[in-house]
């Protein structure tokens, strides 16, 4: 009798364990919060922010919030100043990781700024909030006039059979940062017509009058005019949206200012940008569109940072 009971008890435990495993297996295959659910969290976040009321949000117990790399109480910083939202909202999501982000045009006491927000959602609660805010007076260049709506290519779906793996996509983007460090566009899998828009301004190829501005993204790197960017470190790839072929990288460009000029073949000695003039860094949230295994477009939110300032998520 006793033995029988023991047996049935073991069986019961086994069944319980099995039952516990089943939903977990299902949730791994099918995320509990899909794309629509995740982007809904972003919308909820933005609405609460403009209402200056974080209590409206479903938050994890230990939720962490940073703005421009600084850990703050939720409700502070842009939460206190956001006065409205623009129409420009570009979402990207990785449902398998509970990760979602957006580039959004915001109004701050009536002045436009670009917000990058990354959320991590765990069990339908917000566990992580990482933001960068490009403001007119915290970055050397910004043009929000062009940000009416996202460029359509970022919304295109990649056919299921053409989707590279997460690791492949991250590797392609990593080569872009290697190309910057090495001054070599040839190692980067650029599409020949690649476009990069930074803080609302197209910087490659750009319509700026400078001779180098008109070059392609790859050719610009090979001129070594970005030599002042000594390192792109740390690098994180928190969101890889395979369905849309998007990778969000959050990185820090470090400019030690040990070199202000560079010899550019065919152009002679040129002075590099203003960021080569004193030790500083830039915090960058950069979104890459990968199509046909090439980097087709880049969109970045850039904020000037203190030299080697932590991103808050190391």
């Amino acid at each position: 009798m006793r033995r029988k009971f023991r047996m049935s008890g073991l069986l019961g435990l086994f069944l319980l364990g099995f039952a516990a495993c089943v939903p977990r297996a299902a949730s791994a295959a099918e995320p509990s919060c899909d794309r629509a659910c995740l982007t809904g969290f972003v919308d909820q976040y933005l609405a609460a922010m403009v209402a200056h009321d974080p209590s409206k949000l479903p938050l994890g117990k230990n939720v962490k919030f940073t703005e421009d790399g600084v850990a703050l109480k939720l409700g502070d910083a842009l939460w206190a100043t956001a006065s409205g939202l623009g129409n420009y909202k570009l979402y990207f999501a990785e449902p398998e990781a509970g990760a979602v982000g957006a580039f959004v045009l915001v109004q701050e006491n009536g002045t436009p700024a670009i917000l990058e927000v990354r959320l991590k959602v765990v069990k339908r609660r917000i566990a992580e909030i990482e933001t960068l805010v490009a403001r007119k007076d915290t970055t050397s260049f910004l043009n929000t006039d062009n940000l009416k709506e996202p460029r359509p290519i970022f919304l295109e779906t990649v056919p299921a059979t053409d989707r590279p793996s997460r690791a492949e996509m991250v590797s392609m983007v990593g080569k872009y940062f290697d190309g910057i460090e090495q001054g070599n566009g040839d190692i980067v899998p650029f599409d020949k017509d690649c476009i990069r828009v930074e803080n609302g301004i197209q910087t490659c190829p750009s319509s700026a009058s400078s001779a180098l501005g008109a070059l392609s993204c790859g050719a610009q790197l090979s001129t070594k005019i970005f030599t002042y960017i000594q390192s792109v470190s740390p690098r994180r790839f928190p969101i890889v949206d395979k369905e849309r072929g998007l990778v969000l990288a959050i990185v820090r460009f470090n400019h030690p200012a040990t070199q202000q000029t560079v010899d550019v073949p065919g152009h002679g000695k040129m002075t590099m940008g203003r960021y080569s003039q004193w030790p500083n860094s830039t915090s960058i949230a950069e979104l890459f569109k990968i199509k046909d295994r090439k980097i087709k477009e880049i969109s970045a939110v850039i904020v000037t940072a203190t030299y080697k300032a932590p991103t808050g998520w190391e």
Partner: protein
Amino acid sequence: MKKKLVTVAVACLLLFGVIVDKSNRAAASANEATPAVSNACDRDCLNGFVDQYLDAVVAHDPSRLPLTRTVKFTEDGQRLELGDGFWRTAMARGTYKFYMGDPVAGQVVFFGTMREAGSPVSLVLRLRIEDKKIAEIETIIVRTGMNPARPNDTGAESFEKLGGPDPLFLETIPPAERVSRDELARTANKYFSGMQQNDGKGDYSFFADDCSRVENGQVTTQGRSANEIQTAPPASGQSASGQNGFSRNTSYGALAGCRAQFQSGLLHFVTRIRDRRFVVLDTEHGVALAFIFFDHAAGNTRTFQTPDGQTVTAGPTNPWTWEMAEAFKVENGKIRRIQAIFQRCPYGMSSGWSSWEDAMSDKARW
């Protein structure tokens, strides 16, 4: 059972012994610390470390320095390897030099000018000396025109035009009139408490009648016109772009004198003055120096009522923090001179020398 009790009792006694021993040692070291450190490196010795440090910076060679094994270095609040940051770009020392030593604490703070890429920059340097070795290095570098937030900053040139610190800072206080370190810090801290969410209704008798203030090389207590102030480097809370529309009756800077500015209630937009670290308390000269952050949340604190009944909207329109070192000359319990070096930093940033809780607190520490 008995055996257990004995074991517990022995354990308790041992623990108690450890606690007593530790507290005795702590008390003994507290009693001994002051004279020991005081004798270790006097004012000249501390100033010598400043010169030695800056010469090594200009030579880009930290190996010249006597450093403790665990020396810590920060530049603009970021922990860096010694030799990085300004160490790579410094070209020469400038002409402005202001040393503030605290032999009791083994600390010295220096306000000065330097050259970087041919341009003058302002520097704040704090060194803590331990057994004649540098244990802590904290720096703030304020650059001219390089920071998008302060395109018109002329701080370093202005300091050099002043020539040197206000002579009052260098005068010794007669021994009979010297106050304790605590009292010195408490008086200086009244400045921060009176400015934070300033309402004009406090007791501002801690200002001497002739109190004046220099911020980044500019006198900001002379009651200059709003127009002059807008073209000068921004004083606390004013936007570099001048977009905040200060007018004569809503700008504290248009008022003459430290006390009048506080009485105006126009500094309300300084939301929080936090991480108040008094690192120099020089009772011999009546000089207190603190590293602090001024936060301007830029939300609903921008609109407020002044004591004369005006409703004023003022201050930055986006979250704004000044990273700052501020020195006070205190005589007879009153602040006579104030001098500050500061720059904009990411909102809410920490100094690298405090816990997050202390960094966010408005409680003074020394």
